[in-house]
Symmetry: none
Subunit: 409 residues, 2 copies
């Protein structure tokens, strides 16, 4: 079923509040047989609500509308909807009694303005709200069914789960299946070229590429779970070097599992990343099992004193060099008695670049008893982007080292 969302509230338009309801509905409704295809956010005015209702695309079967059901002056949704759907509003004295009792149980006198929450439509349904006082509405015209719900996430979610999703599931014949594959170390266009022929051969599968600084997520969706699985089976060998997990898994989670299964420990020697690798590693609960710690060696002195990098290596090659990256990785592995040392040194920017060593130039070193290597990267002019991209590259180097079969020799 094709779903449209109308979210009402100035606070969503002016950046005071980030709308998390829409994303939640969009994700949850899929497994109930629905797809959100259109979503409009509007301010709390009668005109804006009517314009949005008039502009609902013809293909939409159901409109879910959130916000503006509270008791205060800017909560006008119910009245506008009663008008728009040409239903009479009737005072629901049973509900008013119930509300009054709820208030008095909390030693509160119910304000008169709450009376607008006790109005019910002459045709259509009321959607119960077990948490708050704002009930929902289920109205209908020739074009679509409309469900109006409060904007408070906990209330909205409870009412969606209890009323709207079951209704959609019953009416819907489709089930829609989605898989998200995460990749890193390859650009969107190169990934697309690798997969293009598979995508063309599977017209029933929808494939979307979602690029981020840390890599490209591939979203695979279709009406058939089996189609998804067989498609993924075909493309996985092609992207093995880049693929690190599904859904919301992070590279540090993957590295954590691999370190544990290989029974190895890790230490970090960070210059340009300034601690962001160790921060990411320690975002994983239980990371103390494989992460001893690390050194943020921002100055050349610390690179020497804390990591045993020889001063003449720094002087002859510069702090941002293959050689220093290797010595930093070796130094932290030995000083911290770890199995793996990983290091970063680079020009994070925006200043500090030269012609031969521009902003974005980064070296990463890995040092273990059996394997050592340095890697050179050219990232961006932007400091934070460079830091983040370097951590992702470093974690991926550790991943590929631990996977052995994919080890970069």
């Amino acid at each position: 079923m094709k779903i449209g969302l109308i979210t009402i509230g100035d606070e969503l338009l002016n950046g005071t509040r980030i709308d998390t309801n829409a994303g939640w509905i969009g994700g949850e409704v899929i497994s109930n047989g629905g797809n959100v295809l259109w979503h409009v956010t509007i301010s709390d005015t009668k005109d804006a609500i009517i314009e949005a209702l008039n502009n609902v695309p013809k293909s939409i079967d159901i409109v879910i509308c959130t916000g503006g059901l509270g008791p205060t002056h800017d909560d006008i949704t119910s009245n506008v909807l009663f008008d728009y759907f040409k239903v009479k509003a009737e005072f629901d004295s049973d509900y008013w009694e119930l509300l009054t009792n709820k208030f008095s149980q909390r030693d509160l006198k119910i304000p008169d303005i709450n009376k607008n929450q006790a109005m019910k439509p002459s045709i259509g349904n009321i959607i119960p709200n077990p948490i708050g006082s704002a009930r929902g509405l289920h109205l209908k015209n020739n074009s679509f069914d409309l469900f109006a719900l409060p904007g408070v996430p906990s209330e909205m979610k409870g009412m969606m789960n209890a009323y709207v999703f079951p209704w959609i599931q019953e009416k819907s014949n489709i089930t829609y299946n989605v898989k998200l594959l995460r990749t890193t170390g390859i650009m969107e266009s190169a990934l697309y070229e690798k997969l293009e022929s598979f995508i063309n051969d599977h017209q029933n599968i929808e494939v979307a590429f979602l690029p981020k600084l840390t890599g490209v997520d591939i979203r695979i969706s279709s009406n058939s779970k089996n189609s998804n699985i067989s498609f993924i089976k075909k493309i996985r060998p092609i992207i093995n070097k880049y693929y690190y997990g599904e859904l919301d898994i992070e590279l540090e989670d993957v590295v954590a599992k691999l370190l544990l299964s290989n029974n190895m420990t890790l230490s970090t020697a960070e210059s340009c990343t300034g601690g962001l690798i160790s921060d990411r590693l320690t975002n994983v609960s239980g990371s103390s099992k494989y992460f001893n710690g690390g050194v943020v060696a921002y100055s050349n002195e610390i690179k020497s004193s804390a990591l045993n990098v020889k001063k003449d290596i720094i002087n002859s090659h510069g702090a941002v060099s293959d050689e220093v990256a290797m010595e930093m990785a070796r130094g932290v592995k030995e000083k911290f008695s770890s199995d793996i040392g990983i290091s970063t040194t680079g020009i994070a920017g925006p200043s500090g670049g030269t012609k031969s060593k521009p902003v974005g130039l980064v070296y990463i070193g890995i040092f273990t008893d059996e394997f050592e290597k340095t890697y050179k990267f050219s990232f961006t002019p932007y400091r934070k982007a460079n830091k983040l991209m370097t951590t992702q590259a470093a974690l991926n180097i550790i991943r590929l080292f631990l996977l052995k079969g994919l080890r970069d020799t």
Copy 2:
């Protein structure tokens, strides 16, 4: 000026990605003289884009459109816009050469599909993208100016700041004055109590409290710049201890300025924060002037070997204790020859808590030649929240130490 947003991408509709761009634009555009009044999110199809453009409310002056400017098959925005605005697309060979060079600098061959990113309109402007390969478009018809930008937040933000906001500011006649004061170390309700009487006395000023994990931002807005200034003048002395800056300044920026003006250097000894303090410190360009580096001492062995914390202090008090926090701060100050050592040790969670040392218990130590102190905090059950809140508390301790007048003795 009245702004409409069109965000394009199935991933925003189906809950794969939460849209943070819209909220950012909605918030930032206000101080540039704009107000977002309408926002529609649509899927990556030609029909959906055209329908959205046709339904832009008449009152809207400017449409900002994000997403769908990448190189792959579902990135159709440019072509649809060229059609809709009836402009010819011309191949920009200069830009193609530049892109090709960018790729070859990274030892990559540019894929042919990137060619669609080198198309430019015969009428209208190209908006440069210094980070990525997807340039933006500025097109115009009789109803509105349209700015099309990529959906990647860092790219979108850079292009908004460099091109779109200045354009809006120039064209706009309205000035809505907004000030954002950032505070830390005080809860929303306590802050409100301190400011309640001032808020009641200034009915022409709108005051909103925006709580985050790292503190509470106070948004002050009115139609008059002078009213804002005089209001802020009144409340500043009340919140001096908590106030650290305006707008999007971060606590690490404030600490940076104070360290430079005091001509002091800093080093970090991090356990529960796992490197996040040094990461934040090194987000500031030029941080090598005052930040030598630090140690992430995740294991007890490293606390002893790298920071000289005596083993019997760890054994008798536990790694999460006042005493260990102090020794870590002293150790890193001495080992790294800095003026200030700052340390963190705590139970980040979600596991590892005990009755006497529950998850969220954190000690922070500061050690200098003239001042030493430890601080105890009880944060949350959540790992990432605890890490972030601890870094904010630690940076605030450094700030208050450097301000002397506010030093916590």
